[in-house]
Symmetry: C2
């Protein structure tokens, strides 16, 4: 087998992905009420064809787009989602080659993932039949989510396109990430679930996202990598300029054991991976939630420094706990310089507050202009890299003394957006459990202003030094 | 000063707290539209009196319950919330002593918390004037939240009484905890915000909660403790049989500095505290969220063992990450015994699943009876102490193939409740960001069945060994 090289490296050319204009679902079936067909048809921006040798009619689907074989489709088909029984996959691939389909995603499982000799042989045969003419995602994967063109394998996937690329073997992880992105405020350029990676593997897809003009931040969930691909991976990473955040599945012994079953990956010793990540300035996290939160933080503020932080709270006790957690993760809460302190202290006038770092506004929070001025001064200070704000939701269900609630909330939104003015991270914590329905609109507006909002300090504080460290390193 | 001893120890008798039947708000003021008066009046189950020498009428409040002084109230007043200006506090206390009020909560600040000699002297004078006849919470605190009798200082506090007691100096921390409890499913017996602790301090309140028949689990946020009270604290803890969970504010140097400002506490070296907590089998956590989550876990399952866990997921990748996190925190994901494995394997019949630990149900999740049987077997297994389940919310927005959604969801609720049958913890993760509105009722039902629900594995996994370790230790 001679793979098509897109340059001197052994990586496959996927530049055509950005030009996908038509698609088919092969194996659309009444058994699950045409689940994958309907999902794609709902949002895909070009023609969608249903391929099934026996189906003649599908409710709420144009009859003229149903064909017994992909070869019968009159126009081009750039992409096909294949969900036929395993024993039909080879002939379907032959058809796709003949039709000139550029990319297929094979959902059908029980190839090498079955762990049997038969499955392995079938996967090898699949590759041979594809003849390097049609590129394959899978088998045993969900393929490609590409919101810009409405390519989506599940219902209610987000329809807005963004700048974050995600690669995972596991389709389930992709589902959680994609559904979460809506609520979190991050937007994907492309998500690849490559399953067994028989043809397109982690290295090919990473190379594609590194070059993809639509992608600025790259997220990966990986369980393992074929040994023969490490050299190519190193060469690709050497040239990479985009932030890459990785969640490695299989760090512990039972995790490795499970990964071997899950995607037949050789996941190897995590220590080796850890060194590798360090060498190539890859941000390494512990959970899917951290992977997405890191993307959100970088998306909002770019890569930032977070060595010296300020804290602002309404509850002094909560502020002290924040300080302890921040220091635990190796960052500092320095005192303000005397000039900064002087300017800040002037603006505190209610008892029970504290104008030192950590700032404690207590009831003076309701004098929003004073908070705004203080935040502006704090973020102007050279000694401060960023600001963490504790804002329990119930303080936004306003007491009667606030005479113009919408003006008040608008001021709050304005000062929470000040991180962008100063190019420093300003991060808000509104505890998950203190969010009355009445503040939903406020939180949505915060999201739209690209202010990262968390529900628990332990969701993100450990991520700040990881982002900050990225700055210090040079890719070797 | 000779404090009233309730036994040989220097702790104050608070047994009368459980018999509070009447209350007054002294200093009810139009300036904040009678904020504290209205909050208490909304929910308190006995008579509420408004005390203000100049106010004659208050909208939506019975005129006959307004008095110029507490001395004018005809009947008994067991409890008074004091929010008068600082220079009025002493005479108000004199009145309370004369009236025979048992407990007051002084919200007014700028006593010892001001850090001035004047404030300190005023606080000492306050104690003298109380003559040990009226017990004081505060000054500079929010006092007592006691849902059983509807005693609540803020609007929309929960009205259902429970078994969890909470002590904190900081009122802001109490507010976050109380509002969070609703959503989290924990219920408080009593919450004390004791501010400066001039009279009733941490030790008195802890002693009360240890003896309180309405309290089973004790939560504390402490910044520091008076040096002279450590001996008494040790004596109390020696006899204690209830689980105590502590969040220590001021673990880091800047945290200590801030705590000294916040409540004039001597918070001391955290290493000493840590040893102290270990010696008295106190569970020590890092955030307010962890404090509440620990209470939730213990409330649902009591103190439990969590050395060997099973994991069940719909996404294999997410399950592997869970395994890695669980192992990182020192717990084990053991293989099932051969008998257990045999019984489990029989019940897996769809490709792409895994019947080993971690269990991966993939699409077989929709065959709910098979999941139910497997969970029952897993929790019966001697080698397994508990089960962590990954259940992304979108899998509960059911595909068309589920013909009877309510029967399906009911089966899911039943099997998620199986932890109670086997007296082993079964914990559910439904990612915060994957909870469509349509599953709200399902999640509420889960809460009512006392099944702990988390939105992120890092919220609770580190807490499991802390709870598990509690079993291993004897209080010395």
């Amino acid at each position: 087998m001679t793979p098509q090289n897109n340059n001197y490296l052994n990586v496959k050319d996927l530049s055509f992905v950005n030009d996908i204009k038509s698609m088919a679902v092969i194996g659309a079936s009444a058994k699950r009420d045409f689940f994958f067909l309907r999902n794609h048809y709902d949002t895909f921006k070009g023609p969608v064809y249903a391929i099934n040798p026996t189906v003649k009619e599908i409710s709420n689907f144009p009859k003229e787009n149903i064909f017994p074989s992909i070869k019968n489709v009159p126009g081009d088909v750039d992409f096909a989602f294949i969900t036929v029984p395993r024993n039909k996959v080879l002939s379907v691939i032959d058809d796709c080659v003949e039709k000139g389909v550029k990319l297929v995603s094979i959902f059908t499982a029980e190839f090498s993932d079955a762990g049997t000799e038969e499955g392995k042989t079938l996967e090898e045969e699949l590759l041979r039949r594809a003849q390097n003419k049609v590129r394959i995602l899978g088998p045993n994967g969900l393929g490609l989510f590409y919101p810009k063109i409405g390519l989506a394998w599940r219902p209610n996937f987000p329809t807005i396109s963004g700048n974050i690329g995600f690669i995972a073997q596991s389709g389930g992880i992709c589902n959680i990430a994609i559904y979460s992105s809506l609520e979190l405020g991050i937007k994907f350029s492309k998500v690849f679930s490559f399953g067994n990676g028989a043809d397109l593997d982690f290295v090919d897809l990473l190379d594609f996202l590194i070059k993809d003009p639509e992608t600025e931040i790259i997220l990966c969930y990986i369980e393992g990598i074929k040994l023969g691909r490490i050299g190519v991976l190193r060469a690709i990473l050497k040239e990479n300029k985009k932030p890459i955040v990785v969640l490695k599945g299989g760090k512990s012994e039972p995790g490795v054991r499970a990964a071997n079953t899950h995607t037949a990956s050789i996941s190897g010793d995590y220590k080796i991976w850890k060194n590798f990540f360090r060498q190539y300035n890859i941000i390494d996290v512990d959970s899917l939630e951290q992977l997405l939160h890191t993307a959100r933080l970088i998306d909002c503020y770019g890569i930032f420094k977070a060595n010296n932080l300020a804290v602002l709270s309404i509850s002094g006790g909560y502020g002290i706990v924040l300080v302890d957690i921040i220091e635990k993760y190796g960052m500092k809460i320095p005192p303000f310089s005397s000039e900064t302190q002087k300017e800040i202290s002037k603006r505190f006038f209610i008892s029970g507050t504290s104008s030192n770092n950590p700032l404690d506004f207590a009831a003076q929070f309701f004098v929003a202009t004073s908070v705004q001025e203080v935040i502006d001064i704090v973020l102007s200070a050279k000694e401060i890299d960023g600001l963490i704000i504790d804002l329990p939701g119930f303080y936004l269900t306003l007491p009667p003394r606030i005479q113009d609630p919408s003006a008040f909330l608008n001021t709050v939104l304005n000062y929470l957006s000040l991180g962008h003015k100063h190019h420093k991270p300003l991060i808000v914590i509104t505890q998950h459990m203190t969010r009355p329905k009445t503040i939903h609109e406020f939180l949505m507006e915060l999201k739209q202003r690209n202010v990262p909002l968390f529900g628990d300090p332990l969701e993100f504080i450990s991520l700040l030094p990881k982002i900050s460290n990225y700055l210090k390193k040079d890719t070797k």
